[in-house]
Symmetry: C2
């Protein structure tokens, strides 16, 4: 029998279709508030959340997320931002000189924002709310910054589309525990390890079908040639770095890298 410390975690799935039932502001605010118990650097809470409910704003955000239909169809969109703006403004108001316009500070704030995001996700799971995490947030962040009017020293790092589930999709697979746990030091992967850890995934009927219809030889090629290509990754890396510079997180002192 399976036992899990959080009752809905073991059955969780990403939800992309939502019912018409409203997500009340009261419930959402309760979860947004509870999630703030998450640990945070120096208790500074280096994040902000922009809540989108307006149809117009959803329409404007959609292209930044490759027009995935959840963005316009979900009742609520949450854009979670790394935020050193609020803390820096606090400092300026209190005779203090903030020094957070640098890369480490971006990583610290992004970390705070992502940990907060995941507690919120776990809370939504326990509450029965559905959500989809949009990794596209860091693909074209400048568009999101412009639409949400995010100031310097903030950066969007995660987006959640949120609503009550109107589907019960199949649960996706996961790699076995031993594939991602290392005892004392990292043991690099041999071909035989890879065979063992990826066998189940590669033999799932939907993955075999995915390889077939895309006319590929292996499942890995689906990822490298179609879903996450070098060309896209490199172009978006440059865009991401440009945006970090514009938001003040990569100052001249690290030029030359």
């Amino acid at each position: 029998m399976y036992f899990c410390s959080m009752k809905n975690l073991s059955t969780r799935r990403t939800i992309r279709q939502y019912s018409n039932k409203e997500v009340s502001q009261e419930l959402l605010n309760r979860l947004l508030s509870e999630a703030s118990r998450t640990q945070t650097m120096g208790n500074l809470q280096l994040y902000s959340v922009v809540v989108t409910r307006s149809e117009e704003m959803k329409q404007r955000l959609a292209p930044a997320h490759f027009n995935q239909p959840m963005v316009t169809q979900a009742p609520v969109i949450l854009t979670i931002c790394a935020d050193f703006n609020r803390t820096s403004t606090w400092a300026h108001c209190r005779k203090a000189e903030p020094g957070y316009d640098n890369f480490l500070s971006f990583i610290n704030a992004a970390t705070d924002a992502l940990l907060y995001t995941q507690t919120l996700c776990n809370l939504m799971d326990e509450e029965g709310l559905g959500y989809c995490y949009l990794g596209t947030t860091v693909y074209m962040p400048q568009q999101i910054i412009d639409i949400l009017e995010l100031p310097r020293l903030t950066m969007p790092v995660a987006t959640l589309t949120v609503g009550w589930p109107a589907e019960e999709p199949a649960q996706s697979d996961r790699l076995p525990l031993e594939s991602f746990i290392h005892e004392e030091t990292y043991t690099d992967y041999l071909a035989m390890d890879i065979d063992k850890y990826y066998e189940a995934k590669e033999h799932r009927p939907e993955n075999l079908e995915f390889v077939r219809i895309n006319n590929k030889e292996t499942l890995a090629q689906i990822f490298t040639d179609i879903r996450y290509t070098r060309k896209d990754n490199e172009a978006m890396s440059e865009g991401l770095i440009d945006t970090l510079k514009r938001q003040g997180f990569l100052p001249w002192t690290v030029r030359g890298y």
Copy 2:
């Protein structure tokens, strides 16, 4: 009456002192496995966890975490790494050309690793296990990489010291919800907003005392002048960028930035 969807979240605190009671491998593995239900990019699970139980390894890791006593005193240390090495090795074994030696791929893998980390934290809270999140992980990552023998395309992003609680510290404060939530667009902070949101924090007796004994004028100065200074942040930003380059996540194509 207060109701929370996760029973221990509303009372959580960071635990730095641990009892002698063992953290069984069975329990730890169950939680490490359950946490993997967390959403992940393309279901690739772009993370690895190095589990430290040996005294020798704890002693070696301690300096990378400024010798915080939890590192040698906790029964278990978990170092969670962004990991594109395993996925890239899989690709190489399957006639696929991985293109993940770039900055976006680091952010994607770090995101996966941090979301996984936080689900694990929430599970530990529900289980009654104590932990402390060490933000120092990204301060001197090269040391950790050398000690744990982390290969190219991996990067430590979080460390947890884990054990059964031997203390019940006071719970830390949090900013009010309205201070970090924005409706539709980001509303920048005016001095009067800052006064309202930070007033309770600034007037907590322990914070007033902290300002007094450090001979500072304001609480914000404790952060800017002592805890997280510009000088330290800038030096560690350069170290972090150097390490990202050495780990293969900042290739020559982004030189010039």
